[in-house]
């Protein structure tokens, strides 16, 4: 299989293998959570009360909820990076078929980046301010793919191009303070996909960005998914962000999944009051009512 970034640079008409990959029929899940519960050992409280979903290649699952609803903890559990004192107290997580409970630290290291990867809200805090961004991406490629320095640098530029940065060579030689938030998030996405992962978790990855830049990043994620079969977990407080990108939505509140189903189903027939509140907010205050009149006209 050609590496993910190469596929991204190929015009979509020329991709012969379908992004969804695998033999006909049901593709094997790349990530599955079964009734995952997360507990704070220090406080003895359960904070996430059972999250289940299955992600197959090329699919996108969205998790919506306010801060403190447990959506980020769920992602961190899947990445094996729960904060100190927190543990998975029930259920199971399987990445590419293997249960993460049995993983050794070495196996985790091999898995992160190469199979499962993530981008978060504040891209600047995940990059070293005193190292050029190109070198930081190249490092991922050298460590994860075993490429030589020069080759890794060339690949870093390719990746920056793949995430639609206009002047990839220039960006490569720049420091974080020289780049805008939207550019930094692209750099982070480039680093996240450098080792050709199969799953990308985007946790509030566009929250701090201007609306137009947010749309650029969401379009990029949609593009990655279509062209490379990358599976996405999109976490946001904004139902509309998730609705744009995902096939399935989980609505979380206070650690509980209050609603879950295909996106269209959840949007058109919300059952839980909280989901209805999220939808009402958009309908009352968003652009919906103006755009609806446009369609009617």
């Amino acid at each position: 299989m050609p590496p993910l970034s190469e596929k991204l640079l190929t015009p979509i008409e020329e991709i012969d293998e379908p992004g969804l990959g695998g033999p006909a029929g049901r593709p094997a899940p790349v990530l599955s959570l079964r009734d995952v519960r997360i507990k704070d050992q220090a406080g003895g409280r359960e904070l996430v009360h059972g999250v289940s979903f299955t992600l197959t290649p090329g699919k996108a699952v969205g998790i919506v909820g306010e801060s403190g609803s447990g959506k980020t903890l769920t992602c961190r559990a899947a990445l094996g990076i729960l904060p100190a004192h927190f543990e998975i107290s029930g259920g199971s997580v399987a990445i590419d078929g293997s249960d993460i409970a049995d993983l050794t630290p070495a196996q985790w290291t091999a898995l992160r980046g190469a199979t499962i990867s993530a981008v978060f809200q504040d891209p600047a805090s995940y990059l070293n301010p005193s190292i050029r961004v190109g070198a930081q991406i190249a490092e991922v490629i050298r460590v994860k793919k075993g490429l030589k320095r020069r080759e890794a640098h060339r690949r870093a530029i390719e990746l920056l191009r793949a995430v639609h940065l206009r002047d990839a060579e220039l960006v490569c030689s720049q420091y974080t303070y020289e780049l805008s938030g939207g550019m930094l998030q692209r750099v982070l996405i480039a680093a996240a996909i450098a080792a050709d992962p199969r799953i990308l978790i985007a946790d509030e990855a566009t929250t701090a960005l201007d609306v137009t830049v947010q749309a650029e990043i969401l379009d990029l994620l949609a593009d990655l998914r279509e062209r490379t079969g990358l599976a996405l977990v999109v976490v946001s407080h904004d139902l509309a962000v998730v609705a744009q990108l995902c096939d399935e939505v989980l609505v979380m509140r206070e650690g509980e999944v209050v609603e879950q189903g295909p996106t269209r189903e959840v949007l058109h027939h919300p059952r839980h009051a909280y989901t209805r509140l999220l939808i009402a907010e958009h309908e009352q205050y968003g652009l919906e009512k103006f755009l609806a009149t446009k369609e009617d006209a």
Partner: protein, 275 residues
């Protein structure tokens, strides 16, 4: 009530920096706000929207053009004149981060009463007035003896709105008032702002997010790279945007039911704007 605009900005230019580092932040911006009207100002980071707010509050010097607040040309006002104007409480403001706009050492009651005491109102009268405004912003009296740090972000922003309201101003400028809030609190603030429309106070609501302004504003003005590229009734600007940037804004706003075809449209608009 007179129909004279409460805020009239004409051909406003604002520059930052000196000599070779001098940079234009606003260019020939004209905008008029009628009494009781809610005007939304939309723009991305660096578009000059906060500069416009700051100019209208006398916080940045005007390079060219004029600003008239409630009939007074304030473009050439000095510190002293601005202070007198602000003390009259005709124009008030609410910023994004209420923790920074409220004095951390004052109780909520003291913060709310302060603008009234400055105007010369007695403590007793001020206390009555403060209480009469609490229900408008859905805050309970129990919060009055707390400090800002003891309140949630949403409560603090409602305090900031109440503080702007107590002097019964003619104009409130709100700079990203809901950007730091979660959805429940955002809805609550938007609802409060909507209810203010009947009171004759004009609002200038500045935001990067068309979505949060759409349901509240009567008119919308779009700033792009320091220039006002489009203005009109909210409905028209959103359903029939003319400028490429406005079109990109509308097609970028995440909606619950969007067509995938919009992606190609956004791509074309981005290419057009970057050309």
């Amino acid at each position: 009530m007179s129909t004279r605009p409460v805020l009239e900005v004409k051909d406003l230019d604002v520059h930052y920096g000196l000599r070779r580092r001098r940079r234009r932040a606003l260019h020939e911006v004209s905008l008029s706000v009628a009494p009781g009207e809610t005007v939304g100002i939309i723009g991305e980071t660096g578009s000059g929207k906060s500069t416009l707010a700051r100019a209208a509050l006398g916080l940045v010097p005007v390079s060219a053009g004029s600003i008239v607040v409630d009939g007074e040309d304030v473009s050439s006002y000095g510190h002293r004149q601005w202070r007198t104007l602000r003390r009259r409480g005709v124009i008030q403001y609410v910023f994004q981060d209420p923790l920074r706009s409220l004095d951390p050492d004052l109780t909520i009651e003291a913060s709310l009463a302060e603008p009234l005491l400055i105007q010369g109102m007695s403590r007793g009268e001020a206390a009555v007035r403060v209480r009469s405004f609490l229900s408008r912003v859905r805050l309970s009296e129990d919060l009055l003896d707390r400090s800002p740090a003891e309140l949630s972000g949403g409560q603090r922003q409602r305090v900031a709105v109440a503080r702007a309201l107590v002097t019964e101003p003619r104009l409130i400028i709100l700079d990203e008032p809901v950007s730091a809030l979660d959805s429940a609190n955002r809805v609550q603030i938007l609802q409060i702002l909507k209810e203010l429309r009947g009171d004759g106070v004009a609002l200038v609501f500045i935001s990067h997010d068309l979505g949060s302004v759409a349901g509240v504003a009567d008119r919308i003005a779009v700033l792009y790279q320091g220039e006002l590229v489009e203005a009109g009734a909210a409905r028209d600007v959103i359903s029939r945007p003319r400028h490429p940037y406005t079109r990109l804004l509308v097609s970028s706003a995440p909606t619950l039911h969007s067509a995938p075809a919009e992606r190609a449209e956004r791509e074309a608009l981005r290419a057009l704007l970057h050309a």
